[in-house]
Every structure is written in C-alpha cells, then in structure tokens.
C-alpha cells in the first residue's frame, strides 16, 4: 500500500512540477523542452521516496472479495484504456478543443505559432488551461500514445482515493469505497465527460480527490498538490482550488491552510498570466504583480490575524466575505483589463448573479435530477441518507472538513448557471451539470466511507482534519 501511495505521490508531484515549469516556459515564448517531463518524473520519485510510510489497518480481507474487486476494477481499467487508445476523442469538447490543442502542441510545444498567437485563427476554448494537452502532446512525442494519459488518470484517482480511505477507515470499507468510486456509471461510460472522452474533467476529478485525500489524512503535500492541479486543469479549478484554504482556515488548521494556499498560489502564479495572454495576446505585468501581491498579503493577513482565537462562526463569516470580495474584484479587474475570455465572461458582470437569483430552485432541481436520477448511481444519494441518519441521531458526526469540501464544491458548481453568458438554462443544465457533478464523485465517496468508519460501533476518529 505504501508503494501505491508513493506511486501516486510521485505522479502528482511530476504532473504539478511539469505543469508549473511548462506554463512559465510557454509564457516567456520558449518551447517546452522534451526533457522536462522525465526530469519532473525523477523529481516526483525523489519527493515520494522521502514520504514517510503510513500505518494502515491490518484487518484482513477475504481473498474472494479482493479477487472480485480486482476483476471489476481491472475490467473498468481495460475498458477505459481500450476506449482511449482505439481512436482519438469521439466526443464534442474532446474533439473540438482538447485534442486539437494537444495535436498543435505535439507538433511544436510553444505558443509562438499562429494557432495560439493569432486571434484570427479558429481556436476553440483558446484560453483554457494547457496541462492536459501538454501531457498528451508529450506522450505523443515520446511514444505516440498520448491518450494513454486517461487510463493513468483513472488509476490515479482510484489509488489516491483508495489509499486515503485505507489509511483512515480500514481495509474493508476502503475496498468497497474504491470499487464504488471506480464503477460510478458516468465515469466509466463511453459518453461525453467519461474517463476516455478526452475532456479534462478527469484531471479535475483527480485534483478534487487529491484535496479530499489531503483533508482526510491531514496531509499538507496532498492538499498543496490537489489545489495546484485544480488550478492548472480547467477554468473552474481556479475556484475549486481556493475552497480547501477557506475550509481549513475556518477550522483553524494553520498547517493545512498554509499548504492549501501555497498549492493554489503556485498554480495561479503559473496559470493566470498565461490565461490572460491566451485570452488577449498580452500580459499586463504590473496588474498581475499587483494581483498576486494583494493575494499574498490577504493570505498572510488570514494566517496572522484570523487563525487566532476567534470563534469559528466569526472566522467563517469574515473569510466568506473576503472570498466573495476577492472574486468580485478579480472579475472586475480582469474584465476592465480587456480580458473577455472565459474568466472575464463569467466574472466580469457580477450583477448577473443577483438578476438570476430566481433561477435557484430550477438549478437545485436540475442538480438533484442529474445527481440522483441519472448517471451517478447512488454516489450522491448515500450522503443524503447519511445526513438523514445523522438527523435521526442514528449515526456519528460527519467528517466536518471533508464534508465541507464536498458541500462547498457542490455549491460552487451551481455558480456557472448564474454567472454564465449562456441564457438558455435548460440547455446549460443539460450540457454541463453532469460534468460538473463528476468533479465531486471522489470527495463524495471519501465522505461516505469516512463517515461510516467513524460511526462503527466502538470506533473513534483517528485525528486529522477530515
């Protein structure tokens, strides 16, 4: 188990390290060198070697159950690998955006080419993060099978989630939780957003699962890596990546707060200037420096002033107000700076949020419909049953911090339906809700297993912020 834990840690460090350096190289107008990914891999292995061994429960698992689990997960991995390698992306966003970016970067891993540099060239989702396209491009450059990334991501999600569950919750529950996560219908189905569809939602699911694992294990490295990876995966990852810092700040955990902030900040410093460049072909350096200086001061202020002996409710209220203020400011600044790309379009008109508030019941119903009745099996139903059981005082208290990560995450995925320029709500729900819910299946299963494990007769929480 420690070997799997180290493998996942090495892979996450390698991906984040590669992404951060590659983004900076792209921003300065150079080509990402071919040696960067292997060097990042070696660095990741080095970090993983120094990772302390974790103690896990020794309760035995009957081999037929283990065999059945391996057979089910093995079949899923083979199906995802087959779907990934047999053809290029077979679904909309994968074919029109992510695959094209990967092909262009595989030919020349630089932004100094018309496809990225000239606004007149048709480039779908021009200002989207480039980590997944870069990883696929380098896989293509080395071996000609860049899409092998997807089964690797699928495996990593299972390993990161499974190791965290086993570390905190015991072998049997962890095995059940890992199989349940791996077999979630939407994840393994061959449709849009599924594991082999070519979309970047898998990378973001890995990031949210890594953060959940970090919260459950109170592991600063995993928290940093998850927050950083979220920012570099997809536009919504920028918002997701802030949430762990907010949650652990409210919980008063200074170590976890610093780790989360560091991960998010490293990712944002690498990604935001590149995003602005891709969206508007120029980077207002002074503005970017001012934004990051403001963020650093804000985080320092929270660390020094708020993480003291304030009541949790006061701290939470102050942090929430600060977060909303920062988000509004960021949107207005981006929009005023001429950034009419994805972030500018969503955040540039905060007034839209109030105008569309009457949509709330429809969005909530949409979330329930897609989360409970369609392609997620019982992933989101079981946490609701757990809440009912808790209300009936039949089960122990929830893993608060981990539960807050899931709860805030599910609230965050409602925001696009209030902020997007898209006016047709029904179409927007149909095209986006399932993919947004997918990002939270890893945290959902970790919450379920952690909650059940602390509610075992005679069990005690084993510490940690989860």
């Amino acid at each position: 188990m420690n070997a799997l834990d180290r493998f996942s840690c090495a892979a996450l460090v390698a991906m984040c390290g590669f992404g951060v350096v590659a983004y900076i190289v792209l921003l300065v107008g150079a080509s990402v060198p071919d040696w960067l990914l292997p060097v990042a891999g070696v660095f990741g292995c080095g970090v993983a070697c120094f990772r302390p061994a974790v103690a896990t429960s020794q309760e035995p698992i009957a081999w037929p159950w283990l065999l059945a689990a391996m057979a089910l997960l093995g079949t899923s991995v083979v199906a995802v690998a087959w779907g990934s390698l047999a053809t290029p992306s077979r679904h909309w966003d994968g074919a029109v955006a992510w695959d094209v970016h990967a092909s262009v970067l595989a030919a020349a891993p630089t932004l100094k080419q018309p496809f990225f540099a000239a606004g007149e060239v048709f480039n779908h989702s021009r200002d989207y993060p480039l980590l997944q396209p870069l990883l696929i491009a380098f896989g293509d450059r080395y071996f000609g099978v860049g899409r092998a990334l997807f089964p690797v991501l699928y495996l990593l999600i299972l390993v990161v989630g499974g190791c965290a569950m086993r570390h905190r919750c015991g072998q049997r529950l962890a095995l059940a939780g890992t199989v349940a996560l791996g077999l979630t219908p939407f994840l393994v189905s061959p449709g849009s957003g599924g594991a082999d569809s070519g979309y970047a939602d898998m990378l973001l699911l890995l990031a949210t699962t890594t953060v959940a694992a970090g919260l459950l294990r109170r592991d600063g490295l995993l928290l940093s890596l998850g927050a950083c990876l979220a920012v570099m995966s997809k536009p919504e990852g920028l918002a997701y990546g802030v949430l762990p810092a907010l949650i652990v700040a409210v919980a008063g955990d200074r170590m976890a707060f610093r780790a989360s902030c560091m991960g998010w900040l490293v990712g944002a410093i690498a990604w935001l200037p590149l995003h602005v460049y891709l969206a508007s072909s120029s980077v207002p350096a002074g503005l970017m420096i001012a934004v990051f200086a403001f963020l650093l001061v804000a985080m320092w202020g929270v660390d020094r002033l708020l993480l003291r002996d304030l009541r949790v409710r006061t701290r939470g209220l102050l942090l929430l107000m600060g977060f909303v203020l920062c988000a509004v400011l960021a949107g207005v600044v981006l929009y005023a700076a001429g950034n009419h790309g994805t972030l500018g379009a969503y955040l540039g008109e905060p007034g839209r949020l109030l105008q569309r508030l009457p949509r709330l019941p429809a969005v909530l119903l949409g979330m329930l419909e897609y989360g409970l009745l369609k392609k997620f099996g019982l992933t989101f139903a079981i946490p609701l049953v757990l809440i009912v059981a808790r209300l009936c005082k039949q089960i122990g208290p929830p893993p608060m911090v981990l539960g807050a990560w899931l709860g805030l995450g599910l609230c965050t995925i409602m925001l696009p339906f209030f902020l997007s320029p898209e006016t047709d709500l029904e179409h927007h729900l149909k095209s986006s809700m399932e993919r947004l819910l997918l990002h939270w299946i890893g945290p959902a299963w970790l919450v379920v297993i952690a909650w059940l494990s602390t509610s075992r007769p005679g069990s005690e929480p084993q510490g940690g912020v989860g």
Binding site: S76, A79, F122, L183, V188, L452
Partner: protein
Amino acid sequence: MNARRWRVGLLLLIAAHIALGALRLPGKVIAKRAADITRYQDGGDLRYFLGTDHLHGWEAIAWIREHVPEGDVVLWRGSAKGALEFAPGLLWPRLLVAAGAVPVDADTWLGRTIARGTVEDQSGVVVIVGEVDRVRLAVR
C-alpha cells in the same frame, strides 16, 4: 430503527451501487464503447462527426483534405457554433482563419498559402461556411 440497522442499510446501499456498476459493465460500458469505436473506425472521423442525424457536411472537409496541402490556410465565415467547431481538428495541420481578417486580394497569410480551388464550377479562394448543423464550401 436502531443505529446498527441504519449502518447495515447504508452498507447495503453501497453494495447496491457496486452491483449496479458491475451489471452495467458488459452492456453500457463495454458493448456500447465497442459500437462507438467500430462506428468511428468503419466510417472514419469525418462521417463520425459530420455525417450524423444532427450534423452534416463531411464532404466539404473531405474536399479540403484532398485538395489543400497541409500547412495552408483555409478561410471560414458564418456560424462559429455547431458543425464548424469540428473543422479545426479535422483539418489540422491546416489553419482555419476568419475570412473577414484577410484582405480580399491576399494570396498568403502570415507566410502561409491561402487555399484556392474550384467549387461547383467557380474558381477562387475557398471559404468554409458554418451553418450550425452543417458546413459547406463556397468561393470568394
């Protein structure tokens, strides 16, 4: 109902989720994926994306692939949403450039040749036109 029953019930729900996932493997996960892959491999990428009930115009992309060298520029106009979204990927390494951004008498754009040809007995600069549910060729 006591706590133990709740716990057993919750474990049964997890088992039900796993059973549902396992039952879906042969049909929804493997057979459907196989059908998808076969359709892509048999019909090719053009028909797979632009020869469906909803999206049309694979012939226009096929014509460009056949007649325009890789690395050249193809102009486009019309609706950027819909069928045209697939064109950059299907035409890469040719570049799709907005027709309005290129002077009418230009032969090259950023050093790349602008595609010309004869379409429906008309010769000139080839333009791919997006119409939400289809793409078609025109001449400028």
